[in-house]
């Protein structure tokens, strides 16, 4: 594609706009009928009164559970569509503090150990970097069956960018799933087993692409996972 060609550029802009509008409308307008389904099933249960057949009760419970899951998926889609338009304030961020604060916020019940090294302080899209690190840290602890889950967050400085790595001692990701984990709503574990939606890594990758970096993954099943991403030192104007 020739980026000098104005009609091509215009088409791209129009497509981008259409895509973002689509995602917004989908997330916005799907909520009303979803609320209706949830409400109606709650009323049916209420109106059937006490002593309901356990099968019916269980089915209504499953129905409501799925509606709630669908709501969270819609919210995830909304967050995903908002990446280029929200949290655009640029300010100084101390990455070391950001990580230690996140760990502190998890409370004393989380027995995790988080090690940090060479984390920089620099001026960038602070909320966006925070979102990416939160998702990676969250995954590192969530998909972890060790008595003491451990995470290593490090950074290396290069000429125009930082290379961040987030490494854990968790359950790891089988190699055949590596290309899929960044897809929205994809999850390695079967849907029945987990509450996880599969949006965190999609949003993270979208943010990283937005700022002009890239993300990759190294992992074997049972061997922990290492996510590596690059993040430019200086903010370039978003291509809106």
């Amino acid at each position: 594609m020739n980026s000098q060609d104005p009609s091509c550029q215009q088409q791209l802009e129009a497509l981008k706009e259409e895509y973002e509008e689509f995602a917004y409308i989908v997330s916005h307008d799907l909520k009303a009928p979803l609320r209706a389904i949830h409400n109606l099933s709650a009323w049916i249960r209420e109106d059937l009164g006490e002593g309901l057949d356990p099968d019916i009760q269980n089915n209504i419970h499953l129905l409501q559970h799925r509606t709630e899951r669908l709501e969270r998926m819609i919210n995830g889609l909304l967050l995903f569509s908002r990446v280029p338009r929200y949290d655009l304030e640029v300010r100084e961020v101390n990455v070391e503090n950001l990580v230690t604060q996140w760990v502190a916020d998890q409370g004393p019940d989380v027995p995790a150990k988080v090690h940090t090294a060479h984390l920089p302080t620099f001026t960038t899209y602070a909320r966006k970097l925070e979102t990416v690190l939160h998702h990676l840290l969250q995954n590192a602890l969530k998909f972890n069956t060790q008595d003491t889950p451990e995470v290593w967050v490090e950074a290396a400085e290069q000429e125009s960018q930082y290379v961040f790595t987030v490494k854990d001692n968790g359950i790891g990701i089988p190699p055949d799933s590596h290309s899929k984990v960044f897809k929205i709503f994809y999850s390695v574990q079967p849907k029945e087993q987990q509450e996880n939606l599969g949006v965190g890594l999609s949003i993270s990758r979208k943010i990283i692409q937005f700022v002009g970096g890239s993300i990759s993954l190294e992992s074997e099943a049972g061997q922990g996972a290492t996510f590596t991403f690059t993040w430019p030192k200086t903010v370039k104007e978003p291509a809106l």
Partner: protein, 142 residues
């Protein structure tokens, strides 16, 4: 006036959301008379007595959906605040999705609260219970 007797105007076009609100009122023992308008224009007609007798007493509490056919919620709110006899009405926005700009605009028009309607009926019951206890706490003019 005791806010228990205050009339309530619900501006909402979705019949199921109207039914949800009425059902929740009943479940939470909210006895305030409730009127329903399907959009902002009808709501203003009812409040100002345009082409029909005006509601009396004036509903001091308005539950307002933003996404309405015809005259939308924010347009309604602007007209309400411009009207000498209606500008004191207390308005709660009840919407399905919070948009930052809608929220800012609504608060600039002095809404008493901006509420995103929860998916779960049980959460909506709690919302209504909280509003109800708030109405019982405060005094309203008239």
């Amino acid at each position: 006036m005791k806010s228990k007797q205050a009339h309530i105007l619900l501006v909402e076009d979705n019949p199921l959301d109207v039914a949800t609100t009425k059902r929740a009122f009943l479940a939470q023992g909210v006895e305030n008379p409730i009127h329903v308008a399907q959009n902002g224009k009808i709501a203003l007609d009812m409040l100002l007595g345009r082409g029909r007798p005006a509601l009396w007493p004036i509903p001091q509490i308005i539950l307002l959906s933003l996404d309405l056919p015809g005259t939308g919620g924010l347009e309604f709110l602007k007209e309400l605040r411009n009207s000498p006899q209606l500008k004191a009405c207390m308005v709660f926005v009840m919407t399905s999705q919070g948009s930052e700009s809608d929220m800012t605009e609504a608060y600039e028009l002095n809404v008493a609260g901006y509420i995103v309607k929860p998916i779960q009926y049980s959460s909506f019951l709690e919302t209504i219970a909280t509003l109800h206890s708030f109405w019982n706490l405060i005094e309203l003019p008239n």
